[in-house]
Amino acid sequence: MSAANIETGPRVSGPKAARVSGAGNPGGGWRDHLGSLAFLAPGAIFLLAITVYPLVATARNSFYDATATNYVGLGNYKEIFSTSSILVTFRNNVIWVLVFPFLVTFIGLVYGVLSERIRWSTAFKTIIFMPIVFSATASALVWRTIFDLDPHIGIVNAAIQTASDWVNPPGLYPVDVSSGKTVAGLAATGVSAGPQDSLESSSTVTAGNSIELGLIGVSPATLQLTGSQTAVAPTQSPGAVTGLVWRDFSTSNPTERGQVLPDELGFAGLKLTLLRSDGSSAGTAVTDAHGDFSFGGVSSGDYKVQIDSSNFSSGFTGIFWLGTQSLTPTSSLNQTAQALLSVPLVDISMIIAYLWIWAGFAMVVIGAGLASLDREVLEAARMDGAGEWQTFRRMTMPMLAPVLIVVIVTMLINVLKIFDIILNMAPGSSQGDANTLALAMYNFGFTGGLGNWGLASALAVILFILVIPAIVLNLRRIRG
């Protein structure tokens, strides 16, 4: 038998040698190198021109002035860290970074886990995932409507109003305190301000007599809504205190005060209390359509008539969710401290909107992670005695940890760069307090005339520095 020489074997030609060597093949043809290298050209041109070079250029620009022509050293950076309106952006980014990634991952985890057990899980996942497909701009506008101040427009405030009105219904003649009006301002004739936003008769009255109380500052339209009709002078009645509450304003005689003129309207439906001299209540009454009222069974003594404050309570008028009211009590602090420590309401609202957009992403990714868990490991845990919660806590969660980290980091990067949602959801008055690094960069770089390119570049550099840890993490993940 011929001994075949295993070492040398038949002579191997070029391409087969290539197959053996794999990456970096020195023996391959020059033309082959060229072929696939050439494929890199278009991508390389785009990336080098639009990504790599600009990175360096921005770093350079950050040390130059607004038109990027004169060197200013660290001037831009100094300005950034000493301007409170820019420090606000840092604060907001911190709020977003601390709150959003963890919240969205948590929601995604809960939905990912729960939706596994229902039959309609595909439909559910589609519904939750769908908002990703909308532009952040469109979503911002949607949520702006939802959070609108006016309960006739914003559904959140509408819902709160419904609940609030049921518990604490508004009066027939609400006074809008937020626009500067006061209850006391309604007092006209024989009426003065009473305690706790009520009104009182200026003089006293005794049984068998009547009293006239004149008010102004309420529109005829409102009176029409309450069913008020022409004021009628009160008739007296023994053992009773009677009277009239009317609108002491006549269009024919605008300056006249004190007399009940024929074209003046009474106040219907007003709740009144008869007060004894010691302030205790001797009875209640409600004015009729003409503004007349009557307290019966009144014993002797001096009384004042009180127009209850409940008539003027405006009920719930809406919370300014998109406003700059801070959740943290910082109103007494100086400007810089306020800039750094406030948590404006608008941030919370925007975070809610952003959660609506991205929870589906977290859910889908975590759902995929859950599906890839080794079923047998979980069965082994079950056989070893782990109950449902223990299995979740000691098996599922640790094994899911890598996936959760990926979601958190991805969302973290996402949130550092948010722009559209702030720009479109925060109303003009809140823009300053809702500002973020990316938005500030845009504002400084591209609005207000020619823009301040130096400052904008410095902001971009800071943004990039913040993103570096994620770059490192990604690289390690790919390498390892």
Partner: protein, 306 residues
């Protein structure tokens, strides 16, 4: 006699589901999830209803009242907007502009990503892994670092060649392509890595050149990944605001997103335009999403998990 106590727990319902299902909490589970689903649908439905109500009703009563009184609904807002036709700066013109930007950007990103990824996976030159690491590094670079220099570059290009891309549609497309490439290359790279090298080795032995290998082997095989990329990229560029806002400059033609943004800057609370415009802008991504759901989700997963 048995030693252990025969604890009669509820029967473990094993099988394919990991979790044991106990009857009472299933109802609670459904309540939570149904409530969540409703909560998630409310904003979109609200927007749709607002767009279907006449402007005059907007200040008077909330959109939710239309649920009880469907007769309020009308297509008048849509008719008005579409009735404007292709007037520059109107809804339809903006839609066209968005398409003019999105389609080329998507196609270019997909083709260039495929080419680049092919070279990185199947090429036989040194330094491939280094280049790939650079691409991975570029994945999360924020566009803010490139905005100003690119404007400068466009200007410089303009003074050299007479064509300044700033303020033009190509100017926007170029930027989108560049920033779509890292993710696109990453996606295609992962997919191509799964193709057995032997397939191309066999082609090489048969004498095929690189371009032929790419066109006739890698590209067709990579179609599913390319589809995912295209859909993902399409929706991403369609929904962009910042890049278009900057690089269209004062161009009278704007994208749909800019159109919507402009509405918030006008003084009037013209919610009928905002809501109708938003619905129109949502419409196309929704169709893409529902038609190609699988591919879109796959694209999302590829970006995150891996």
């Amino acid at each position: 006699m048995s030693a252990a106590s025969p604890a009669t727990r509820p029967p473990a319902q094993p099988g394919r589901s990991i979790w044991a299902v106990i009857r009472p909490s299933r109802a609670l589970l459904n309540i939570i999830l149904v409530a969540s689903a409703v909560f998630w649908l409310v904003p979109t439905i609200g927007l749709a209803i607002i767009s279907l109500r006449p402007e005059s009703l907007f200040q008077q009563s909330g959109w939710w009242t239309a649920l009880a009184a469907p007769s309020q609904l009308t297509l008048s807002n849509y008719k008005t907007l579409f009735g404007q036709g292709l007037v520059t700066g109107g809804v339809l013109d903006s839609l066209v502009t968005s398409l003019e930007i999105t389609v080329p950007a998507t196609l270019l990103v997909t083709i260039i990503s495929s080419l680049t990824a092919y070279s990185l996976v199947f090429g036989r030159w040194r330094g491939r892994s280094a280049v790939f690491l650079v691409i991975v590094g570029l994945l999360v670079v924020p566009i803010q670092v490139a905005l100003i220099p690119v404007v400068q570059e466009y200007r410089a290009f303009g003074s050299l060649t007479g064509f300044n891309p700033f303020g033009t549609i190509p100017g926007v497309v170029i930027f989108h392509v560049a920033f779509g490439l890292p993710f696109g290359i990453f996606l295609m790279y992962n997919f191509y890595s799964g193709i057995p090298k032997e397939m191309l080795e066999a082609g090489r032995i048969d004498g095929a050149g690189e371009w032929q290998l790419f066109r006739r082997v890698a590209l067709p095989l990579g179609l599913p990944a390319a589809a995912s990329l295209m859909i993902f990229q399409f929706i991403w560029v369609w929904n962009d605001l910042l890049v278009a806002l900057i690089f269209l400059g004062s161009n009278p033609h704007i994208t749909l997103t800019i159109f919507l943004f402009d509405q918030t800057r006008t003084l009037a609370a013209n919610y009928w335009i905002i809501s109708t415009g938003a619905m129109i802008s949502i419409f196309i991504p929704l169709i893409v999403f529902f038609s190609f759901q699988r591919y879109f989700v796959r694209g999302v997963l590829a970006g995150a998990v891996k």
